[in-house]
Symmetry: C2
């Protein structure tokens, strides 16, 4: 099996030992504590599950700047984005060397992790700007990732953490949330050797399904890990149980036995386009995938990134040898009326736009809302049925 | 896939809808609440995960008596044990029709479930005695299951529940805890058709491994679900991460690809022997297993049960047609020095005790503690190494 990044075995920061977990939970209640940002909480959850291996905790400013500027920490190791715990101020910490990090996303702000504080530093305006410029390729405060990053504060508290739970991700998505440890375990049990991971946060229509089939076939993969970003929904989003059911039905009907698994991870979307694509590949290696699908405008938002920036960054900016996972470069896929099958659009250079069956998200939602299945060239009927049933309940 | 008991699809009592879950969590804080017994909490977790399908909540006294006396509820449906929420008193409930059930096993007693109260009844001493006599086949207060049952109180509060979390089982065993929904999903993904489940709470030595191989081969199963009872440890027990690692290593090395999965469920052991065996089979059907291994003195304790009572009960007492899952009847297995392989002891009638390689638990722990691997006829070296490494840390 492909090795994790930076160590022979995963070193998740969750405290698995029961007695130690009890001890730390009790200790945490007596420690000075801070409610951390949602972004920091997502980072803690990812470190807890082994996804950010070998990171042991939140970066200090020098490491964060290294990650932002050249994806390289001060010790020379590779990490594609800053992983910071930024606060408005550190008043509640004082001189404490050990603190509890409280969860902003769960009622009552329970302790998510304990941190051994190594440094408390002020991040200058210039450093904040450098980081957003490098990570998000913009400092535009309209960019949702930049806005979220800048809203946290400029006091960086850093040091290793011990994670005590997986926030609301595990409790609200009990059947879908997986740690990197679990996915590695299951890949091992299934006997898969070549595994491609697919990022999604939505139900999958035919184009997505066929993209996965294409990647598996061309790469010779025996396994596909559908890996959903879990998180709080925006109004209008498909609820998690419906999305899961639709994806599971697709796997059941259209994938051979033991060729696909449906899983999710807990993290806040950065919308950092190319940099986020590198991070996405990073943690897919840690969960045991050998390949990762990156399509057009991966993890992008608005017009901030070029259509294929999230692919070219792997040649242009990722240090050579930093990762073993390989990228499967994809374009949008769609049904070709000429060829009567789903094709990758860049591979049909003779096609005009009208030669494809293309439907906007708005149009699809409208059809489903009217109880109307999208054409079979767009949606599998079994999947459409689940989504239509859901829209009828609204 | 084998159907759940009592309905075409699993109807887990966990609240999967995010918005509904948030709403109920908030509502719960304003409801009258009671801290329930550990046994009731385990029942709630099982109902949350779909294992006790189609139960919707805690039984009233008539249903509980029916379950105890003839495994049949007042509506004629089958359930092998009473599933009760017994309290010392109902003072905190008053006339409330909707209450919060608080978790006795988690610090701060967070709400585990909401109940719509249908009845509050006093259970008479005679009824308590009937139930222990029937379920545990004794009313001996030395029996750990009887003692736990009787320690709860005699006020039964009953009604359907909505489950909000999986107690400490999911949070402390994040890589192993599974709902019945998850196991069904994974069986479907793996494409298994004939699935045998194996109950354990300890690391598995060669005899257990070979028992699983025997069951799979004789039944023609394509899948094995190793299903661990998770729970608080007793002093001297192997910690969960070590037990998991030992079992996972065994699967990795000694089971073909895609033939076994390692999972766990959250419940308190009843030590009810035969009745618990029926319950064990019941919830294995709900998680999608077609077969279940029941060995000598399954779920027993002390000398309360005959060696094979947990097998004969299926013919003698379980109503015909109550379950579709089939029992794989086993005896102890052990290495035969005569035949140079692991055999089922009842199938080697010419063997004397000395013809087998038998080691007591005490002896095995002593050897492992001394850094000594048990003989290869008893333990796989890869498994022994993990256990020895653990004992060296003590």
């Amino acid at each position: 099996m492909i090795k994790p990044i930076g160590s022979d075995e995963l070193q998740p920061r969750f405290v698995y030992d029961d007695a130690e977990h009890d001890k730390l939970s009790k200790e945490a209640e007596g420690l000075p504590s801070v409610v951390i940002s949602s972004q920091a909480a997502g980072n803690a959850v990812m470190m807890g599950g082994g996804y950010f291996n070998p990171l042991k905790g939140f970066m200090n400013v020098a490491d964060a700047m290294g990650a932002a500027e050249k994806m390289t920490l001060t010790d020379g190791s590779f990490f594609p984005v800053p992983v910071m715990c930024l606060l408005e101020n550190a008043d509640a910490i004082g001189n404490a060397k050990r603190i509890a990090l409280r969860d902003p996303n769960v009622d009552g702000n329970p302790v998510l992790a304990i941190m051994d504080v190594e440094a408390i530093e002020q991040v200058s305006d210039a450093q904040m700007k450098t980081m957003t410029d490098k990570v998000y390729r913009t400092d535009d405060s309209e960019h949702p990732g930049v806005a979220a990053f800048n809203s946290q504060g400029q006091t960086a508290v850093s040091g290793p953490i011990q994670v005590l739970n997986f926030s609301y991700f595990q409790t609200e998505f009990p059947d879908t949330f997986r740690t990197a440890v679990e996915i590695r375990n299951e890949i091992s049990e299934r006997g898969w050797k070549k595994i491609v991971a697919f990022q999604t946060r939505n139900p999958m229509h035919l184009a997505h399904e066929e993209l996965c089939h294409m990647a598996m076939e061309r790469l010779g993969c025996d396994g596909l890990v559908i890996h959903m970003l879990l998180g709080k929904l925006k109004p209008g989003d498909i609820p998690a149980p419906v999305r899961d059911a639709a994806i599971r039905k697709m796997v059941e009907v259209y994938f051979p036995p033991n060729s696909a698994m449906v899983t999710g991870y807990g993290f806040d979307m950065l919308y950092a386009g190319p940099r986020e694509a590198v991070l996405h590949a990073y943690f897919r290696q840690n969960m045991g995938a050998t390949h990762f699908i990156i399509g057009r405008d991966h993890a992008g938002v608005g017009d901030y990134y070029g259509a294929f920036d999230a692919q070219t960054i792997f040649e242009d900016e990722v240090p050579a040898g930093a990762m073993d996972i390989e990228i499967f470069k994809a374009d949008h896929t769609a049904w070709s009326k000429k060829l009567n099958k789903v094709v990758m659009m860049c591979e049909a250079p003779d096609h005009e736009k009208e030669d494809f069956v293309l439907l906007s998200g708005t149009k699809v939602r409208e059809m489903l809302g009217n109880g109307e299945a999208p054409p079979k060239e767009f949606s599998r009927p079994e999947v459409a049925k689940i989504l239509i049933d859901y829209y009828q309940t609204l």
